[in-house]
């Protein structure tokens, strides 16, 4: 059966991923700092090493699976000007059932 959400409540790792996504979208200075060097921005956050790598990539599919809020992640990808087909493709590549069920 399909499910709408990866996590019933954000894990600690997901909290910090979402914190990065939220802060950068809502505070221009944070966004500028992130854009200048995503890896450096993440370095001092209490993120897991995996999350740091996924954010710096970005690895959209892995961020989704790790509990990134889908709305925050979508807005982040719009900001990064990731082409829509690439964005959708990255998500679909991690679907349990590629038919979308």
């Amino acid at each position: 059966m399909s499910r709408n959400w990866v996590q019933a409540i954000p894990s600690p790792e997901a909290y910090w991923i979402n914190r990065v996504l939220y802060d950068t979208q809502h505070k221009p200075a944070e966004m500028a700092r992130f854009d200048a060097d995503p890896a450096a921005y993440c370095r001092d956050m209490p993120l897991t090493e995996a999350a740091k790598a996924h954010l710096a990539g970005p690895d959209i599919g892995q961020l989704y699976l790790a509990g990134a809020n889908p709305y925050l992640l979508r807005a982040h990808c719009l900001h990064l000007r990731i082409p829509e087909a690439d964005y959708l493709g990255a998500l679909r590549a991690v679907a349990e059932d590629p038919a979308g069920g």
Partner: protein
């Protein structure tokens, strides 16, 4: 005592404003006609205030303090918060007295919404108002329901919140005429592997249940089926809240079509009010 002069619901999506032309020309004309009809009906209500029930898409609220329900009591609301949304920056006038009244009455009635005196509203509230061309001077009271980040309030609780709002509005003495607009849904996915799918069977089943008189069946359907209809379909909570306000008088579906190129099942509807 205020009369509830109209209870409406409409889907919202940023695509409506940013990329309307993604759908076929005929579809665009039809959906625009549906929203125009919504606008005419809202205007005909001559409401002195509109309670707009929507959700915050992780702009005003975050995981540090994520309310199940929030009610605004500000004099005005800047909008839109999304820099990328193709809409005029403007201020939606608020009705702070009605907002404060609803928060206070909620606390008396056993509901625990957060109070907000400052919100910058997002496309959820704005896009249906824009597309329907709702008069820009009518004050609003935003009611925000968490549909975007679990844990979510239950479908049942959202219906119950509507029941409370209906009772509180009907004994409010500050205005004579209040309208209600719920926004969100129907089936869609945002930022998931299913994004782009719609589930017309869910949408039509849900609309049918709203039109029928069986609240238990309605809640059972929404609760059990929502996972087949996408994370965006969690926004049917707003339709349930509106249904709780309106009561089981029936639903007039002004427009419905699944529009995968807009990423959503788009519905526009008005409840028939028992008189």
């Amino acid at each position: 005592m205020a009369e509830i002069v109209g209870v409406f619901a409409a889907s919202h999506t940023p695509v409506m404003l940013n990329f309307p032309g993604l759908i076929a020309e005929g579809d665009l004309a039809e959906v625009q006609a549906g929203f125009a009809e919504l606008g005419r009906r809202i205007a005909a209500c001559r409401a002195q205030a509109i309670v707009v029930i929507s959700d915050d898409h992780m702009h005003n609220f975050f995981l540090d303090n994520l309310p199940a329900f929030a009610i605004g009591a500000a004099e005005g609301y800047e909008t839109p918060i999304e820099a990328w949304l193709k809409a005029d920056k403007r201020v939606l006038p608020g009705d702070p007295v009605l907002g404060a009244y609803l928060v206070g009455e909620a606390y008396e009635a056993g509901f625990d919404p957060a109070l907000s005196l400052n919100l910058t509203l997002d496309h959820g509230t704005l896009t249906p108002l824009e597309l329907a061309g709702v008069d820009r001077t009518t004050p609003i009271v935003p009611v925000l329901v968490n549909c975007v980040q679990p844990p979510l309030p239950t479908m049942r609780r959202c219906l119950e919140l509507g029941g409370f709002l209906g009772r509180a509005l009907r004994v409010y003495t500050g205005v004579d005429r209040v309208a209600v607009l719920a926004t969100g849904g129907l089936s869609h996915d945002v930022g998931t592997p299913r994004m782009g799918l719609v589930n017309e069977a869910f949408d039509r089943g849900f609309l049918n249940h709203l039109g029928g008189g069986d609240a238990a069946a309605l809640l059972d359907f929404a609760t059990r089926q929502v996972n087949e209809a996408g994370n965006g379909a969690e926004e049917v909570r707003m339709w349930l809240t509106a249904h709780g306000i309106a009561g089981p008088g029936g639903l007039d579906v002004i427009y419905y079509k699944g529009l995968p190129d807009w990423y959503a099942g788009i519905g526009v509807a008005q409840w028939r009010l028992e008189t």
